[in-house]
């Protein structure tokens, strides 16, 4: 058991060390790089040994197994091993040196991973640089170490045709010298001085990431063009094999640490030339000490840029990757999907201060009173079906539909200010001395207050210091203050004063009503003239999707009799997720009382949990017969792999493939107290109007739980039934 654990740990850490060099955990990439490293068998072996030394040290010294498993701790050791294996002959002193330097590199790695990690920065290949420079600077003193005379262990020696064949083939192509340069720059990452290594590495990158591949070419070409036009010394690029600095920087800043997008590509236009200049400058400096630059320019520029980006107070435009997916594609798609879906999730949940349907009589920056710093406010009143706010003759307050109607707290909080003694105005009159009229200010959190004004005199139901729940009646609509006719004024603000200026803040969920029925809004700001209402939840639905940690959702597959079991967990960062132990898949979800939705999924797309993740992607927990809810899905799985593969190339610039999700209620047995609710969701890929891979899910809710689920795709139908 223990042995198995360690074998698995070492194997995963070993293989990940290779893919980590390209910021990945892709296995195919790793195998190809492993193969490439063995083009020089000595170097390849030395790399393997260096990893093993690092890993054993980690285990013996009780360093983090997680970081060991994902290769973070050992990819620098690997590179050091590869490098010295490439330069020195095998003998006993070599192995002693390898042992010592691998050990040292690991400690440098840990030191940098902690000191840079604290600031949210990656250590990149700094440990490798330091480790190797130490050897290079110190080795002259040890005469037992011998520089390699002949490449006895090189594959090129035994299969020369293979290597020259590739070289000759490229020679036939147009721009052959540029292509040579590109491949050799790639190969140089593994200290290989041949085109085959470069070609294989390029293929590996292509398999791992189309965006990454595109970035590698893009970055390389910018560097190349820069040198070309500035008539730089090409020999630096060729003989020092440092062209990979362009490639690594392009992948790092174009798609790995920064979300790949048009903007990240533009960023490279500026940063790659910096690399070029740095290479020249540092080359001049470092040759004094006989030190090669290796990846130093890349390390400097990436760290410089990232640490500067960390200090921004607004994360618009270029966005840093916060939750690393180890793939530019995943970083891109998940980020833009998240922007579409949850860009507003960080807002405090604010509901409308009303019951029933009211009208927004003045919206943000309205032209009556919502001006300047007091512009982000909403006025509400009630209109009849003809749009009138009053019944004739409209000369008295009581003729107005909204007068004396309850006003509710928009979120829970503490009442910090109450004014309840200002007379309501006669119709048409305004009170400019106390222009807010009778007002309640509620504190919801630090620097977050809501204010409701123009309430009816002597009707306030709360007093200073009260803690109130969302939806409590705080008073009744009146016409006090600067209010020529009854209405309520609602605003969010950052300070607790009655006259505070406004804060733009969306309403979490609400409905608008027009002739065609209700539309659902999420984290939006109601517009002037809209008829709005709060979303009411249905206990049956809310209870069925109230998944608490430790709870198990268990279903029987009606056809096969197999049992699927998903357990609810909460992560260390308070995220709730469903976990299927059989398929090792995880689906993260959020239930905020009004909505249930999935945010992320890890694991096999064949697992039933994935079907659940797609099928119940977004569920509104209140029954509205004709309501249709739409959402965007990740495109993966909704198109053929080839289409997705091609789409990846242009993804940073534009998306022509879309995956759409639609939710609607298909059955509500009793509108007032439903005992059975059924909802149907449809997901499909849309490419130039053509629909593909349609996936339908029907959920039946009964007895406060999900009673049956039907998943239906063009290929198969699966029926799940809640386990008794």
């Amino acid at each position: 058991m223990k042995l198995q654990y360690y074998i698995k740990l070492f194997w995963e850490g070993f293989i990940n060390s290779y893919s980590q060099i390209f910021f990945s955990n892709n296995k195919i990439l790793a195998y190809i790089l492993l193969l490439v490293s063995f083009f020089d068998i000595g170097a390849g072996l030395s790399g393997v040994i260096a990893i093993l030394i690092g890993q054993v040290t980690c285990v013996l010294f009780n360093f983090s197994h997680a970081l060991l498993r994902d290769g973070t701790y050992t990819y620098n050791s690997l590179m050091v091993g590869l490098a010295i294996g490439m330069f020195y002959d095998f003998n006993l002193s070599f192995f002693i040196l390898l042992l010592v330097i691998s050990f040292l590199t690991l400690f440098i790695t840990i030191w940098f991973s902690v000191s840079l990690g604290k600031r949210g920065l990656p250590m990149l290949s700094i440990p490798f640089l330091l480790g190797l420079w130490i050897i290079i600077l110190g080795v002259d003193n040890f005469s037992a170490l011998e520089l390699k005379q002949k490449e006895i262990l090189s594959l090129a020696r035994y299969f020369p045709e293979l290597f020259t064949g590739v070289t000759d083939f490229i020679g036939e192509l147009p721009f052959a010298n540029v292509i040579y340069l590109y491949f050799r720059s790639l190969g140089a990452i593994f200290f290989q001085f041949n085109d085959l290594a470069g070609l294989l590495t390029a293929i590996a990158i292509l398999i791992y990431s189309r965006i990454g591949f595109l970035l590698s070419i893009f970055g390389f070409l910018i560097g190349y063009t820069f040198y070309y036009y500035l008539e730089g010394d090409f020999s630096q690029l060729i003989y020092s094999y440092i062209g990979f600095n362009f490639i690594l920087t392009a992948i790092a800043l174009g798609g790995f640490f920064v979300i790949p997008s048009r903007k990240s590509f533009l960023l490279l236009l500026l940063t790659i030339p910096i690399i070029a200049i740095l290479i020249s400058a540092l080359h001049t400096l470092f040759t004094q000490f006989g030190l090669p630059l290796f990846s130093l320019p890349f390390n400097i520029v990436v760290l410089l840029f990232l640490s500067a980006m960390m200090t921004r107070f607004k994360t618009a435009g270029l966005t840093l990757v916060t939750l690393q997916q180890f793939s530019p594609e995943k970083n891109h798609y998940k980020f833009f999907n998240a922007v579409e879906r949850f860009s507003s999730d960080t807002y405090y949940h604010i509901s409308l201060p009303i019951m029933g349907e009211w009208r927004i009589s003045q919206g943000y920056d309205g032209n009556i009173t919502h001006k300047g710093e007091w512009g982000q406010a909403l006025d509400f009143d009630i209109v009849n079906h003809d749009g009138a706010t009053y019944k004739l003759p409209g000369l008295e307050l009581k003729d107005y539909y909204c007068y004396d109607i309850p006003v509710l707290a928009t979120a829970a909080g503490i009442v910090v200010e109450v004014i309840d003694n200002i007379e309501d105005n006669k119709i048409g009159d305004v009170n400019l001395d106390n222009n807010w009229g009778n007002t309640v200010v509620i504190k919801h959190g630090e620097y977050l207050f809501s204010k409701l004004s123009h309430l009816k005199i002597n009707t306030l139901q709360v007093k200073k210091g009260d803690y109130i729940q969302k939806g409590k009646i705080i008073g009744y609509c009146g016409s006090s203050g600067r209010s020529p006719e009854p209405h309520i004024h609602f605003q969010m603000q950052t300070t607790p004063y009655v006259g505070s200026k406004t804060l733009a803040h969306p309403i979490s969920y609400y409905l608008t009503k027009d002739k065609s029925g209700y539309s659902f809004h999420e984290f939006d700001i109601p517009k002037e003239g809209q008829i709005v209402a709060n979303v009411a939840t249905t206990p049956l639905l809310a209870r069925a999707f109230h998944l608490i940690p430790g709870m198990k959702l268990e279903f029987v597959n009606k056809e096969t009799g197999n049992i699927v079991s998903w357990e609810v967990f909460v992560s260390a960062t308070n995220q709730t997720y469903l976990y299927c132990s059989k398929t090792k898949s995880t689906a993260y979800f959020v239930n905020n009382g009004t909505m249930f939705y999935f945010t992320d999924y890890y694991g096999s797309k064949k697992a039933l949990l994935h079907s659940f993740y797609i099928g119940a992607h977004k569920v509104v927990l209140g029954c509205y017969k004709d309501l249709i809810l739409e959402d965007n899905l990740l495109i993966q799985g909704f198109f053929s792999p080839f289409i997705t593969f091609i789409h990846d190339f242009t993804a940073p610039f534009f998306h022509y493939c879309k995956a759409k999700y639609q939710f609607r209620f298909s059955k509500i047995d009793n509108e007032h107290k439903p005992t059975e609710i059924e909802f149907t969701t449809e997901s499909k890929g849309v490419l130039f109007g053509n629909e593909s891979n349609e996936f339908k899910a029907v959920f039946n809710i009964k007895n406060n739980t999900i009673s049956t689920i039907k998943f239906k795709s063009s290929k198969k139908e699966i029926n799940l039934k809640c386990k008794e």
Partner: protein, 452 residues
């Protein structure tokens, strides 16, 4: 210029009355048009007398009632009280506006079904439900409002026989400070009958108690009584939750909201004294919201308001048959409509307007119907301008109960016209004919001939 109307001369004793600076108000303002249709044209086209309903007004009423309740309480459902006016066109206007159906007999139940109301949205009220009625309601999953213990027992038996769990509510009566107290329907709150019924239902386990129903009276002139009623209903609902851990779905506050009619014997006109719907709403919703329900347990509020939603949308148009002078010198005018079609004339002093212009001279008049019966008095005393034979009048606030309670007696029932929201009249019930009255008659053969 129109030819000036001839007005017969009148002699009136001068009554000073109480001094005021406005002079004596002549009550009438002529009503020449209804929703853009000239009264005389309507009568010419459809015959006199004629019931006219304004769709615009009906929709306005139900929408405004919904708005008034829904902005004060989050869960509201209206159910159209069929007995108030069950012309299919009228019912369907309410159903289009989202109202369910509320019926008190199988005949009404079938009408609602035929109109297309889903049977689980037909509330079945009333003290008289036969076994057959109950079986239909059980099979259709309609909420059955139990009126008395015998019905409860019978329902329990039927449920057992049919292996079904009927959805039921009990009707509760209570003291809300109003006289007369309506204690003939349902189970009394104060003396424990209501709890007895609830206990029996919960113990039987064959009935599903989904609601509580009350209907504290009719033409209620005190909104506060509804507040008392709603509190008592909430108390029962919470008691049920506490004792049986059973959450009831709804509290049905029934109807009884007054219209703007003036009751006989009232000192002031109804338009000035009757509470507005928002006053009833305020009383009911405040009581329910303050009752302390848990959020999930907050019951739906059902309302079976009939009269207040349709009375003022109905008009009865008629014509003068003749004028005469009574022995005591009072003026009497005989109209072509009587109490057989204006049934509510028994308890309201209907507002009646002339349908054409007159000068300001008025005369106290007794308005009689055309029936050859002494009881046929439309208004015992109304101030009217000097009407001539053939002149038209409009009787206001007749939308509720008149059409359902009118009868063929001496004269036949008139047509009913609905004026749609664009002002186009639609006939929604044809004038009765002799065939209609005789259609169900059966004449034995030996009585088919005679000689005189």
């Amino acid at each position: 210029m129109d030819k000036k109307q001839y007005e017969r001369p009148i002699i009136k004793p001068l009554n000073t009355g109480l001094m005021n600076k406005f002079g004596t108000k002549t009550e009438y303002t002529p009503m020449t048009h209804i929703d853009g249709n000239k009264v005389s044209d309507l009568l010419e086209k459809y015959g006199s007398p004629l019931f006219v309903l304004s769709e615009r007004k009906i929709r306005e009423n139900i929408r405004s009632a919904k708005r008034i309740f829904e902005t004060r309480y989050p869960k509201v459902q209206f159910a159209w009280s069929y007995k108030t006016n069950y012309l299919n066109a009228v019912c369907n206007i309410f159903h289009q506006e989202g109202s369910w159906g509320e019926v008190v007999s199988m005949f009404e139940y079938e009408k609602a079904m035929k109109n297309g109301v889903p049977t689980d949205k037909i509330l079945f009220n009333g003290p008289d439900k036969t076994d057959e009625d109950l079986i239909v309601a059980i099979n259709n999953n309609s909420p059955i409002h139990i009126d008395h213990l015998d019905e409860l027992y019978r329902l329990t038996e039927l449920a057992k026989e049919m292996h079904k769990k009927p959805r039921v509510a009990i009707r509760v009566n209570m003291d809300t400070g109003i006289y007369p107290m309506w204690d003939r329907f349902g189970f009394n709150y104060e003396n424990g009958q209501a709890w007895e019924a609830i206990n029996k239902i919960m113990a039987s386990e064959t009935l599903d108690l989904i609601g509580l129903h009350c209907h504290i009276g009719t033409f209620m002139l005190m909104a506060s009584a509804y507040g008392v009623a709603a509190s008592k209903m909430a108390d029962l609902a919470q008691g049920i939750k506490k004792r049986y851990n059973k959450t009831i779905t709804y509290i049905d506050m029934g109807g009884g909201f007054a219209s703007k009619n003036t009751l006989k014997g009232a000192y002031q006109p109804g338009t000035d004294t009757v509470p507005e719907i928002h006053e009833y709403a305020e009383a009911i919703t405040t009581a329910l919201l303050n009752a302390g329900f848990d959020n999930d347990d907050l019951p739906y509020l059902y309302l079976e308001t009939g009269r207040a939603l349709i009375d003022d949308a109905g008009f009865l148009l008629g014509s003068v048959i003749s004028n005469k002078r009574l022995s005591d010198g009072r003026r009497a005018t005989i109209m072509d409509f009587g109490v057989n079609i204006l049934f509510t004339a028994f308890w309201y002093n209907h507002k009646i307007s002339p349908a054409q212009e007159f000068s300001h001279h008025t005369e106290d008049t007794v308005m009689y119907g055309p029936l050859c019966m002494n009881i046929d008095v439309v208004r015992e005393n109304v101030t009217m301008p000097p009407l001539n034979k053939g002149d038209n009048v409009v009787v206001h606030y007749v939308g509720a109960y008149n059409i359902t309670q009118s009868m063929q007696f001496i004269s036949l029932r008139p047509a009913v016209v609905l004026i749609d929201t664009k002002g186009n009249p639609h006939i929604i019930k044809n004038k009765e004919s002799l065939e209609d009255v005789e259609v169900k008659e059966v004449k034995p053969e030996y009585l088919s001939t005679f000689e005189l």
